[in-house]
């Protein structure tokens, strides 16, 4: 008779290496999305501290960066 822990361990061992690799990548990318969100927040905060003509451009770049991070996350989710 197998214990539940043994069952889980067996199940985990049957999962392929690439699945773990994908999981690792997705976790890493979700952390990166959080970082990109912080960058948007930071760009906003910096723009409030010193306001000038280029702030909109920089904020736009921050949003593009966040968009790119989300896109790569979705691509990783679909392709891998």
């Amino acid at each position: 008779m197998e214990t539940p822990v043994e069952k889980i361990l067996k199940f985990l061992l049957t999962i392929s290496f690439w699945f773990w690799f994908k999981l690792l990548l997705l976790v890493g990318l979700s952390v990166y999305i959080a970082f990109a969100m912080l960058v948007v927040k930071q760009a906003k905060m910096m723009g409030e501290t010193i306001s000038g003509g280029t702030n909109i451009l920089l904020l736009g770049l921050a949003w593009i960066h966040l968009g790119a991070a989300i896109l790569v996350f979705l691509l990783a989710l679909i392709l891998l």
Binding site: W18, F21, L25, G28, L29, Y32, F35, A36, L38, V39, K41, Q42, A43, M45, M46, E48, T49, I50, S51, G52, G53, T54, L58, L61, A62, H65, A68, A69, V72, L75, A76, L79, L80
Partner: protein, 237 residues
């Protein structure tokens, strides 16, 4: 007979006079045309000069948004007074950005050597694609973060005070200021081949304010910055 001679002489005289008149008229016309041509050329030159002047004026009015040494910039900062005017805004010299720019630039070429690495052969193509995308995303984030930190770390001199705005990490900022009458000493330090050649250095301001010392690393034209502050201090006295 003599009368005939006199008459012929008179005729000759009138003919000569008429000829002279014509010549002088022609000369006058030519002179006036030459004068008008010269005047036209002068007018063209004056117009060109005016155009150049206007261009220079418009260029003087042009402000580089990414400038490191900006006089009377068209920006506003947090807690700026209504009658407070920014006289000088400085960022670190562009050369201080070279390390992260170089790293980012070299990072662009890393995926090109990727296929030659031994472990790359074992990775499936879809994983390789995603890893390359992740790599470029990391480079973009790294470069953008460094740029933001450089762009918003500024030192401002106004007609009332000096303001030092520092962003240390993602969410941590420090804004410190000292009124001009509390400034005790302004010094700058520069040295070395690169710093002397590109004219940048560190500025130190001793104050009697809450923050005893202000320092700004890698400031462009430090001599001029110090001179500006000293001029403002003299005006205060």
């Amino acid at each position: 007979m003599s009368e005939i001679f006199v008459a012929s002489k008179r005729k000759l005289g009138t003919k000569r006079r008429l000829g002279f008149d014509r010549v002088t008229e022609r000369l006058g016309r030519e002179q006036s045309s030459v004068k008008s041509k010269i005047e036209k050329k002068k007018e063209i030159k004056v117009a060109e000069k005016c155009r150049l002047k206007n261009l220079l004026v418009s260029l003087r009015g042009f402000e580089n948004p990414f400038g490191t040494y900006v006089r009377s910039p068209k920006v506003k900062f947090e807690a700026q007074g209504k009658d407070e005017e920014i006289i000088l805004l400085i960022r670190s010299h562009w050369v201080t950005n070279v390390p992260w720019m170089l790293v980012s630039f070299l990072g662009i070429f890393v995926p090109f050597i990727w296929p030659f690495l031994p472990f790359a052969q074992f990775l499936p193509l879809r994983f390789q694609t995603i890893l390359i995308l992740v790599w470029y995303l990391l480079i973009l984030g790294f470069a953008f973060e460094n740029f933001l930190r450089w762009y918003f770390n500024v030192f401002i001199v106004t007609n009332y005070r000096v303001v030092d705005i520092d962003f240390y990490s993602l969410m941590y900022k420090e804004v410190s200021d000292a009124e001009l009458d509390k400034i005790e000493d302004v010094t700058y330090r520069t040295g070395g081949i690169v710093r002397s050649f590109l004219n940048y250095g560190d500025i130190y301001i001793q104050t009697a304010a809450e923050k005893a010392e202000f320092d700004f690393q890698g400031a462009p034209k430090p001599g001029q910055v110090v001179e500006t502050i000293q001029n403002l201090l003299e005006r205060q006295i």
